[in-house]
Amino acid sequence: MENPAVRIQNLNVYYGNEQVLFNINLSVPRNSVYAILGPSGCGKSTLLRTINRLIELRPEARVEGKVEIMGIDVYRELPREQVARLAGMVFQMPNPLPHLSIYDNVALGPRLHGVAKGRKLDEIVREALEQAGLWEEVKNKLKKPATSLSGGQQQRLCIARALALRPPVLLMDEPTANLDPVNASKIEELIRKLSRETTIIIVTHDPEQAKRVANRGAIIFKGKIVKENFIDTLFTVPYHELIQKLTMEERIIVEALQEKR
């Protein structure tokens, strides 16, 4: 693939002595939506957090291999703080900072990176809120605390916060898992719209959602990529059957190993 937005090469991740990701290789094309699928605990959130070095919050984590965003090696060519300008992140729980206003939540990134002040900052905040489809709902109460918004609005505020630094890549960790269907579909619509200008990597455990929003995807099982392809061809075997089969095989292998002992 020529000039992918994100390229991961020979990635191995450990928590202490336990290996959680095994030799991951994948490339995410620019301005598309890439889905990472897998059952709980398979390592998909860890993979996402490896891309923007958020994993370094866990002191026991160790990363081997290479992650490039827009051709830049994020572990070797950038200080950790600057990675935020290449990749924004949205989390499973809407987590606007509760002590800050709607405006300040969005302005936090640009302010801290010294991107803009005053009028220019107002503009950036407005643009980010517009992109997140929230501007019309909050334009008259920008000074209100972020927690005064509903859950769905809070999640879109978090998207605006991530977009305010204008990163080329947006990482989303099950962004609709805590939302009702109406708000979830709003977010999905937003993802499709944003992908015209931004590369989005979304972690999800819902294959239907992946089919609705993504162009390409990978299925991860026990820290390994088991399938990687265009989204239409990714599900030649239905997802749940695949996971069931893999779980069964895993059990047989484990039992066989135990019998050997």
Partner: protein, 279 residues
């Protein structure tokens, strides 16, 4: 009625009795200074707060003016010394909990909280009072600050620890360096917890008696500067309650009233504020 149910009844009664006993003990403990003390203050009126103790055996008890000044100054000074140190140690212990230094600092702080507070007083007496050759307000404040330091550390660390991990991730994902995450995001997020810590430090310093016994001096009749002897309310109670003079005993009761009232109200405020912390 069989034996088993009799046993059951008796046990239940004993449990209820001990609960009642504790309630009575606490009630009489609090009500004595409140009732006797309040009566003294009402009788003495405003002069109780604006004059010095009267002579022994006189009609009126006199007042606690210089002790109030000494208390306020000494407590504020001790909090001003202990709180910043406790704050930064609390932050360090929480943020770098994996490091040896943090583990060590935590055990040290825990150990400090277990040391009988009279020993803190003796320690400051040995290293400060003996060196300066006199008891002083500063010496009292130093020994008080040792007594309140561990509480501040624990309180600050706890108020950071209870903040859900996801907010830390949010700040980190925006590229905030660790120290900015702590001071611009986590600390303001739980300002209430930190303030409760500050308040508990005041409460602790207000009610500690033993550390100031040898260090603060016993100056009830005047103010002699920061490096001169001073006094606190518990010291006044200790000094005047054990004299045979009725008016001095009254003075001690009045001071006990203020001690009890302030500590009860502060601890109620702290309890209420801590309960409401939610994310």
């Amino acid at each position: 009625m069989n034996l088993r149910s009799i046993k059951n009844e008796i046990t239940l009664m004993l449990i209820a009795l001990s609960a009642v006993f504790i309630l009575l003990a606490i009630f009489s403990l609090i009500s004595a200074p409140l009732i006797f003390g309040l009566r003294v203050i009402i009788e003495a009126g405003l002069p109780f707060f604006t004059t010095t103790p009267a002579g022994p055996g006189e009609e009126s008890p006199g007042g606690i003016y210089y002790t109030l000044i000494g208390s306020v100054l000494m407590i504020s000074l001790s909090v001003a010394i202990a709180f910043p140190i406790g704050f930064f140690s609390g932050v360090y212990i929480n943020e770098y909990s994996q490091t040896k230094l943090a583990t060590l600092a935590e055990s040290a702080s825990h150990f400090l909280s277990e040391v009988p507070s009279i020993i803190l007083g003796i320690f400051i007496y040995a290293i400060y009072v003996l060196a300066t050759k006199k008891t002083s307000l500063v010496a009292g404040a130093l020994s008080l600050s040792l007594a309140i330091l561990p509480y501040t550390v624990v309180q600050v660390r706890e108020s950071l620890r209870v903040i859900p991990f996801t907010y830390r991730e949010a700040a980190y994902s925006l590229g905030l360096p660790r120290w900015k995450t702590v001071f611009f995001v986590l600390v303001p997020m739980n300002m209430r917890g930190i303030l409760v810590g500050l308040l508990s430090a005041f409460l602790r310093a207000f009610s500690e008696t033993a550390p100031v016994l040898f260090t603060a001096g016993a100056a009830f009749y005047g103010f002699y500067g920061l490096d001169g002897p001073s006094s606190t309310l518990p010291l006044l109670v200790w000094n005047f309650a054990r004299t045979p003079y009725e008016n001095w005993q009254k003075l001690a009761w009045g001071a006990s009233f203020i001690l009890a009232l302030v500590s009860i109200s502060l601890s109620l405020i702290i309890r209420k504020a801590t309960k409401e912390v939610r994310f």
